[in-house]
Symmetry: C2
Subunit: 346 residues, 2 copies
């Protein structure tokens, strides 16, 4: 049976209060007593019971991180950033994946209640606000890329609109006109933002966005692969494919290669997120840079801000800018195609 504070106290010939005091470093206890207690603790391999401590302190030193999914490098980067930040504060992470399922979100939230001091929730697909309602108001919550107008929670959202618009503009600048996009899952707010950006860029340049150019994927490599195959099967296929995340772009590249086309000379392809592997694949991928691990870090730091009461009652709403990351998977459209057109026209 594990030894408790009373065992330590007995063995050291003091009261439990004194032991508790040296444990918490706070109060002044005579140096000699402290040493004696410390050595007893060491000897007995005593460690305070977190449940008992948590019970009275109402602190857990853990933070909940609830992600929609765990596939791919994106989320692992978020976790990495969050873990780093959390460790800096001596805290730890309870990670859970919801698979975009409201029931699982609810289960995770229920579990976390009372077990964490704060929650970072990423839920681009299901509206989680209702689920948050029966959490104590005092629990700091940061919404990461959630669809919400709610100002009651702290929010961090990536500028998917701006990033996609910029990328689309870039493709237009390169001369592309037939630009296909591969979107994320249905009802996914991240995907919707990016789609909005794409359409806005098209409209701004007086092209009417062609809905037949918008193909629905689900943010996985396999979906990118399959959709790209379909796209390439068309007679006059697009000259550029804009996948709404890098995983799908990677899948698409495979499909393109299998079709015997070269990138970027035959077709341009770009992604979104700039996951670490994006710069290593070949050709290195032109994409929209998102500070992924920083997303995790920011969310955690925000949570600590909240907890330390610097900003007890004011919610913060951070809008994370993206940056075009130009590499080698996109190219000025082949002037050949103009020539071809002429030839065809003749």
């Amino acid at each position: 049976m594990r030894s408790s504070i009373v065992d330590v106290a007995e063995k050291a010939g003091v009261s439990i209060a004194t032991v508790s005091r040296v444990l918490n470093g706070s109060d002044k206890v005579k140096a000699k007593t402290r040493e004696r207690i410390l050595s007893v603790i060491q000897e007995m391999k005593y460690a305070p019971n977190p449940a008992a401590r948590g019970l009275i302190m109402k602190k857990t030193e853990a933070i909940g991180l609830l992600l929609p999914d765990l596939h791919g490098e994106f989320f692992s980067e978020v976790i990495r950033g969050a873990d780093e930040a959390v460790q800096k504060h001596g805290y730890h992470l309870i990670v859970s994946s919801s698979h975009n399922d409201p029931n699982e979100i609810e289960a995770a939230l229920r579990f976390m209640r009372g077990r964490v001091d704060a929650i970072v929730l990423m839920s681009p697909q299901v509206n989680a606000e209702i689920l948050l309602e029966n959490l104590p108001k005092s629990l700091p919550i940061v919404l990461l890329n959630c669809r919400t107008d709610n100002t009651h929670y702290d929010t961090i959202v990536i500028d998917g609109f701006g990033g996609a618009r910029e990328m689309t503009n870039y493709l237009l600048d390169l001369g592309h006109r037939k630009i296909a996009v591969i979107t994320g899952g249905e009802n996914n707010s991240e995907s919707e933002e990016r789609l909005r950006g794409y359409r806005a860029a098209m409209t701004d340049r007086h092209f009417t966005p062609n809905h037949s150019m918008e193909h629905q994927g689900n943010f996985t490599e396999i979906s990118g692969y399959e959709i790209a195959r379909e796209i390439l099967r068309q007679k006059h296929h697009p000259t550029a494919i804009f996948a709404f995340n890098d995983s799908m772009a990677i899948g698409a590249i495979k499909a393109i290669r299998e079709e015997g086309l070269r990138i970027p000379s035959d077709i341009s392809i770009c992604g979104f997120d700039d996951i670490p592997v994006a710069k290593y694949i070949s050709p290195s991928m032109t994409t929209v840079h998102v500070p992924i691990s920083e997303l995790g870090t920011m969310a955690i730091n925000r949570v600590f801000d909240r907890m330390t009461k610097h900003s007890k009652d004011t919610t913060a709403h951070v809008f994370v800018p993206t940056k075009l990351c130009l590499r080698s998977s996109c190219k000025k459209i082949n002037t050949m195609s103009n020539q071809e057109k002429e030839e065809i026209a003749v």
Copy 2:
């Protein structure tokens, strides 16, 4: 202030014992009473305090997962597998990364003590056995790919030796003789096993392993990239590079391409792990398949086996076989090179 069981009891006009009973479903309480209590619980949004419950039950419903690192797709797959398994049991995951630092491992272990019902520890680089010593003996622990002969803990280890040997044999079969390897970090047992496998294959075929062919990386893309660059700078560079994980292989591919060489016609490259992205990059990567997410699943399932006392006292030592995964990044050595040799000889 959060409502407690006494608030519920009062409002429902019963004792806390009865409330507790309906909460735990176990004992028989009159249907009518149960309903009344249930509705009060709903109304008050009452949720039992996990700390209090944990204090008396000595159960946390959480499992600790301590990983050496969080970079790349490998670990995210392990987490994914573990999370899946854990959710099936209604449990949750406390994830932490140790950065291969003994102090961080110790801190994480200390934190987890009393906060989890079991620990899965992956620590290929630092010998963690000493650190485990001041954990209660009753706490189930699974060692994942740790360097250990200890039979006191459950272990799961990948057959790195066999996998690397098989891959090396395959390369030899393709006619390669100058096979460079890029290893993982110093003192990393996974890397060492793979190196042992490589050397064994060479020796078996009566080639003396040439130590100048063994380059030390650290399992990151960047290290693969940099080392491959060095390798290619040699006059008579190897005809094949065997990176000890896929991330490094991906980095190496970038370096190879930058050098203007084609894969696999000019040089063959292969990896280890078969991370999801490996089949999507081009050329699709020949690698050693490791059931990564299953590693997480297996570890968790083992832990539950232990906890449910099916196998209370017998430790299990699982050896996970790997499988050669042949794709397109390796090729029979160009017979041209024989011709070249002759030309040079003339």
